[in-house]
């Protein structure tokens, strides 16, 4: 047998003390980072990602622009210290390029690019620490950074990974779990109730797929609640520092209209 660590023990605990449907600790920091127009530092458990959004701005190269909409450019860098084993990943790494393309494809239909013709939106993603669910963290972080930058979107995009151990579905996998069981990452638009991304690199039995997909959709709305709260808190603190206290007790109503 492979690892000696039990993925799911008889009492229903996973190796880190969570139960099947419990997600890892979600931490969101939306404070300003450098020059970026919007940024988000997000961590799911021990996976941590910093996303900076620049733009919409004029494209550096004309050839990269479209006359009717904005071009989205996603660049991902993985810190060499992000995994246990130090490994230098170059920017031209095929896997990373594919990873960036996945994220780009996820956000293209969500961002209202037609509002900014002939311009470019740059999304720079830095993976600081990895412990499973890197893609989901990147997507969630990108959503928040875009919102932080004030770029109009039709909805949140909330991503979550799920897997199946024998017959029991689990959510939000760690590296340990990802190495051992088939898993899938699902990104949903919680308001529109649409699935924007389903991706998997392992083989998952077709009978289990529907179950895990439904579960991931439900988990998406839980994440949505958490992410929305972070955005609200950020706005409240911004408003309170910005100027005269005309702050209404509840800013939430407005937010609900927008998102």
């Amino acid at each position: 047998m492979g690892s000696r660590i039990e993925i799911l023990n008889e009492a229903g605990f996973r190796s880190d003390g969570r139960r099947q449907h419990e997600l890892r600790d979600l931490n969101i920091d939306l404070s300003r980072h450098g020059e970026a127009d919007g940024s988000a530092l997000i961590s799911h458990g021990l996976t941590q990602v910093l996303v900076s959004v620049h733009g919409p701005r004029e494209a550096k190269m004309r050839s990269h622009t479209f006359h009717d909409r904005a071009n989205i450019n996603v660049e991902v860098t993985v810190a060499s210290f992000s995994t246990g084993e130090r490994r230098k990943r170059l920017r031209g790494d095929k896997r990373i390029l594919e990873f960036a393309a996945t994220i780009k494809a996820t956000f293209e239909p969500v961002i209202r690019t037609s509002l900014y013709p002939r311009s470019q939106i740059d999304i720079y993603i830095q993976v600081l620490q990895q412990d499973g669910g890197t893609l989901q963290t990147c997507i969630n972080g990108t959503t928040l950074a875009l919102i932080n930058a004030g770029i109009p979107m039709t909805d949140f995009v909330c991503a979550i990974s799920g897997g199946v151990h024998s017959t029991s579905p689990m959510l939000d996998l760690t590296t340990l779990e990802e190495n051992d069981i088939p898993h899938v990452t699902v990104a949903v638009m919680p308001k529109a109730k649409k699935v924007v991304l389903v991706t998997m690199e392992t083989r998952l039995h077709v009978d289990r797929f529907e179950e895990i997909l439904n579960l991931a959709r439900d988990a998406g709305s839980i994440l949505h609640r958490e992410m929305k709260e972070a955005v609200l808190n950020r706005s409240i603190s911004l408003v309170s520092t910005a100027g005269p206290a005309q702050l209404r007790e509840k800013g939430e109503d407005d937010m609900n209209v927008d998102y």
């Binding site: 047998m1 492979g2 000696r4 008889e10 009492a11 229903g12 605990f13 190796s15 880190d16 003390g17 969570r18 139960r19 449907h21 419990e22 997600l23 890892r24 600790d25 979600l26 931490n27 458990g45 021990l46 246990g84 084993e85 620490q129 412990d131 199946v164 024998s166 017959t167 959510l171 760690t174 340990l176 083989r203 039995h205 077709v206 009978d207 289990r208 579960l215 439900d218 988990a219 839980i222 994440l223 958490e226």
Partner: protein
């Protein structure tokens, strides 16, 4: 919708909730690993009547309540036990005993530690947790916010200095430190927790607070917990305070030399060299200086063993006690090879441990310092020196370390001569020898209070350890099995010895059976009934089954009929077990762990509950049954035109024995459809067999005898006879092979990674060298072993015109040179090793006996997925899972074969005894049987008695003239012409059953009756 939540992990508590350690990979890279854990408050303590823990997320096993106040003298307020890991590692027998059942709080840390240290013990622990009458609560202390602890860096400052040297060692040390602190903390929490829940109520006497007792064998841990105010005891101290300790005390494993006075210990003589440290051994193996292999004891000579290591073709000989260095049969050992000048040939003498060591003192083996000469040692070295070894030399070596012990409980007898007092009322502790039933094992020394009661009984003994200062391993008594030679005790000991699970099926398993029980029938045909979904209706076909007489679990049936186009349709119908045994149910797990049905002479230990095996799945005649059918269209020359597989419903028209079917086929007056079907099948089988033989299949032989029982009730054996082979046996066999091969091809094609297949590797040529040499020298015959076809052809030529049984003998000996067939998952070995050597088939599986073999059940599931009948259970998609299951099945299969053989042997002994008594009563003299010599020794002959299917040993008291090169012994009794006896000679042996004085067990003694009488030699 399930509840999905986000668990919060406060950053401020990162010290507790994050763990950082370094790990060294197999390639030698050092990796930093960071893990988090989520601490929770909803983990229940498991104590009944606990109010604070009422909301629990732990699935409810049984809550436990404290031990009654009178259970233990030191704890009048009741108590709970909290055992440390070392208790499980050393005292598992105690914990498993039904006499010992105090409430136990089992910590997750302990369970994990046990798992790291020993997988077999972990499995026993897991089994223990499910036993109903044990009070065990598994507490997940690592996930509980109160009991989770932090590794303290200052705890091991020394280790920190070592960090540069070995990250791995450091990590382990940390874990260890961590571990002990953890257990103590949990104990303290429990004590506090219990106190909280029973607040004193005014006016009433203060409620009694039960004590939590930390049970540990580690004195340092005990001391530390005492400082922290935790009650902690050693197992022995605890057991002594129990109400009725005497029986339980025997179950305790032998302790490390605590009681031995230092003065004596210092003068102890070392019998064995110390083992090398593990790291040295591992480095040595890696560097090629040491060799790793399985230790095999020699059953003829207890002072010699061998180890098979991959680097040498030949076995490494280990001669003498010092060189075998405390290895027991089956251990994985590290061997150092001696220089070539010291290589020797294996001994050609028989050395029996019982006779040589008859007078060894049990208490002794350490008393030499008192001036007594070491009698045993001298005797043994004499025995070794006197051995004259032939010139053919083999590498020799010595054991320098044991990598993995293969210890298990052994069935033993108490050696009556080692008892100091046989007064049956004496309850004093005595040290006695227990002699294992198996000749491959050394005697075991154990201390017991019940010695006189155990005389003449079979008992189960575990080995605890084997010190350098002790000639014998030390063990402890587990339980008594019953009187020697009583059928129950013999049967149970046999099952234990071969590790056959024989407990009755539990409730959870029986609950998986259809609710209708015996009344279950195939429902009437309709489109809506799930049974009929995608099933073919084959009830009209003339299907019949052919089995041995008395067969209850009929798992195959056959039919054949001519087709209009001149071809023939033949069908094999196998019981549809997978319809009743679903994957991942209690019944499925049980069947997987049993692996196979075990057939003993008078008992069958089923793999599946009898309701399925002998009724619902059994393809009995005249009832409708569900089946899985393989149907071929064969040309008249028995070439496969096409094949299809389908689930079906059949109604067998007849159940024949081989004999009945044969008679029916040969009777020209019978011309009904069924007889025609049998004839058709028979003609096809003949052609199939001819094709198989032409492809190079082997016709192997193993000694098979049949025991006639008096009646089914008394099960007293009357006589022994050899099994007969009829044409119809071969008929059934051919079609089963055909079905298995066809199915193997289909599932391998559909599931290239996980198909359950069976293979038989070609034997290494060296295995045959000795047999080839004997055949050439003795009979002038050549054995060509280059391919299976050549071997088959040359085996056919091994004929002695005067001796028809000779060919069978050679076949039996050739079979022993081969490897055994095994199950495997198709993705785990390379495709060119799929072949089945004996059958000369490129691919093979087992499909035809799902009632009695688990591999067949898996093949059924895979085939039914392959034909799109049902989706395959995810576990069968996973290669590691399939490999794991098949490993178990392979082992069980091997053990089951050995158990049946041993059972036959036991009954042959009983039958001989019966025959001897009858012979004595009628005064007709003694039992004399013809036998072949199969091995020659300096002081004895190994013989094989074909008519009884047993092997035996004829020993002479003195050495004879022995010629190892030509495999013969010259026996020269005084005053008579010398007689030469060689391998393959036919002799007559006299069989007597004599009682072993020690064990009271009958054993067959053989002496030569012809060409000369060896009774006085």
């Amino acid at each position: 919708m399930v509840e999905i939540t986000i668990r919060k992990r406060p950053r401020s508590e990162a010290v507790v909730t994050q763990r950082k350690f370094f790990k060294k990979t197999a390639k030698g890279k050092v990796i930093k690993v960071l893990r988090e854990r989520y601490l929770r408050d909803d983990i229940a303590c498991g104590i009944k009547s606990c109010s604070t823990c009422s909301v629990s997320c732990t699935p409810v096993s049984n809550d436990i309540s404290e031990a009654p106040s009178d259970a233990h003298s030191s704890f009048p307020d009741g108590h709970f036990l909290l055992p440390d890991t070392n208790v499980f590692l050393s005292q598992m027998d105690l914990l498993e005993s039904p006499l010992f059942n105090p409430p136990i709080l089992l910590l997750q840390t302990v369970v994990e530690e046990v798992r790291h240290r020993s997988l077999p013990l972990y499995n026993r622990l897991k089994a223990l947790m499910t036993v109903d009458d044990k009070l065990i609560w598994l507490f997940y202390n690592e996930y509980h916010s109160q009991t989770a602890i932090v590794r303290n860096e200052d705890e091991s400052p020394n280790d920190r200095n070592d960090r540069g040297k070995s990250f791995v060692a450091l990590w382990l040390c940390f874990r260890f430190q961590l571990f002990f602190v953890g257990i103590r903390k949990a104990a303290a929490w429990y004590q506090e927790h219990i106190g909280l829940n029973r607040p004193p109520v005014r006016g009433k006497p203060q409620a009694k607070i039960p004590t939590v007792v930390l049970l540990t064998e580690d004195a340092a841990n005990r001391q530390k917990s005492k400082q922290e105010g935790i009650v902690s005891l050693s197992v022995r101290n605890y057991v002594e305070g129990l109400r009725d300790p005497s029986q339980i005390l025997d179950l305790l494993a032998a302790e490390k030399d605590e009681e031995i006075e230092p003065t004596r210990a210092s003068g102890r003589q070392l019998h064995y060299p110390e083992y090398l440290p593990t790291s040295t051994v591992l480095a040595g193996i890696k560097a090629g200086q040491l060799h790793q292999g399985h230790f095999n004891a020699n059953q003829y000579n207890y002072l010699e063993g061998s180890a098979s290591v991959p680097t040498f073709d030949q076995h490494i000989l280990l001669i003498g006690r010092e060189n075998m260095n405390r290895a027991t049969n089956g251990d994985v050992v590290a061997v150092e090879i001696f220089p070539e000048s010291e290589w020797k040939a294996p001994a050609d003498e028989v050395l029996d441990q019982d006779s040589t060591l008859k007078n060894d003192d049990v208490e002794g083996s350490g008393d030499e310092d008192e001036g007594e000469p070491d009698i045993v040692g001298e005797k043994e070295s004499k025995a070794l020196a006197s051995e004259k070894r032939s010139t053919k030399r083999q590498p020799t070596g010595r054991v320098v370390g044991v990598i993995k012990r293969n210890w298990r409980p052994y069935v033993c007898h108490i050696d009556s001569s080692s008892l100091t007092s046989s007064n049956s009322t004496s309850l004093s502790v005595q040290t006695v020898f227990a002699t294992p039933v198996s000749r491959l094992l050394p005697r075991i020394r154990l201390r017991t209070r019940q010695a006189p009661l155990l005389l003449g009984q079979k008992i189960l003994v575990s080995i605890d350890r084997w010190e350098v200062t002790s000639r014998y391993p030390e063990g402890h008594f587990v339980r008594a099995l019953g009187k020697v030679e009583s059928k129950e005790a013999e049967q149970e000991s046999l099952l234990l010895e071969f590790d056959v699970p024989y407990r009755p099926f539990g409730k959870a398993i029986l609950d998986c059976l259809p609710k209708e029980g015996e009344q279950w029938v195939v429902p009437p045909k309709s489109d809506i009934s799930p049974e009929w979904k995608q099933r073919e209706d084959l009830r009209e076909l003339n299907i019949c089954s052919i089995d041995p007489p008395g067969c209850q679990d009929i798992d195959d049936a056959l039919h054949a009929r001519p087709l209009p186009n001149g071809n023939i349709e033949a069908g094999v119908h196998i019981a549809d077990v997978s319809h009743f045994v679903y994957a991942d149910t209690a019944m499925d797990h049980e069947a997987a762990s049993r692996g196979t049905t075990v057939y003993l002479v008078d008992k069958r230990i089923d793999m599946l509950p009898a309701l399925l095996g002998t009724n619902l799945c059994s393809l009995r005649p005249f009832v409708e049954r569900l089946a899985f059918s393989a149907i071929w269209e064969l040309s008249p020359d028995a070439d496969i035109v096409n094949v299809r597989f389908t689930k079906s419903v059949i109604a067998s028209k007849a159940a024949f024995t081989y004999e009945e079917a044969q008679v029916r086929k040969d009777d020209p007056n019978q011309n009904d459809d069924i007889t025609a079907s049998i004839r058709l099948l028979n003609s096809l089988a003949g052609k199939l067999k001819a094709k198989r033989m032409a492809a190079g299949a082997l016709n192997l032989a193993s000694p098979e005898v049949k025991i006639h029982l008096d009646s089914s009730e008394s099960s007293d054996p009357i006589d022994v006879e050899q099994k007969e082979m009829r044409e119809t046996n071969s008929l059934v066999e051919e079609f089963m092979l055909l079905a298995n091969i066809s199915v193997a091809g289909k599932i391998q094609e559909t599931f290239p990674q996980t198909a359950v297949l069976r293979r038989h590797l070609p034997p290494p040529k060296t295995n045959f060298e000795k047999l080839q040499d004997i055949l050439l020298k003795r009979k002038g015959l050549n054995l060509d072993v280059s391919t299976s076809g050549d071997l088959a052809a040359s085996l056919d030529k091994c004929i002695d015109p005067t001796e028809p049984a000779f060919n069978t003998l050679v076949r039996i000996m050739a079979t022993r040179c081969m490897l055994s067939a095994e199950y495997f998952s198709s993705g785990s070995v390379s495709k060119d090793t799929f072949g089945h050597y004996g059958l000369a088939s490129p691919i093979y599986t087992h499909f035809t006996s799902p009632i009695r073999r688990y591999a067949d059940v898996l093949a059924h599931r895979q085939l039914s997925a392959a034909i799109g009948y049902a989706p395959l259970h995810p576990s069968l998609h996973s290669k590691p899972h399939v490999e794991r299951v098949l490993d178990v099945v392979n082992r069980r299969h091997r053990m089951a074969q050995m158990a049946s053989r041993a059972s036959v042997e036991f009954y042959v002994g009983l039958a001989l005894k019966g025959r001897e008594e009858r012979a004595k009563a009628s005064n007709s003299g003694e039992i004399i049987e013809e036998a072949f010599v199969i091995r020659t020794f300096r002081n004895g002959l190994g013989v094989f008695i074909n008519s009884l299917g047993i092997e035996g040993l004829v020993t002479f008291k003195k050495d004879m003239q022995f010629d190892a090169e030509n495999y013969n012994v010259v026996i020269q009794p005084s005053g008579v012409e010398p007689v030469t006896i060689s391998v393959f000679d036919k002799v007559k042996v006299r069989l007597e059953v004599e009682k072993d004085k020690n064990t009271q067990r009958g054993r067959v003694k053989m002496t030569l009756a012809s060409p000369l009488d060896s009774r006085n030699m």
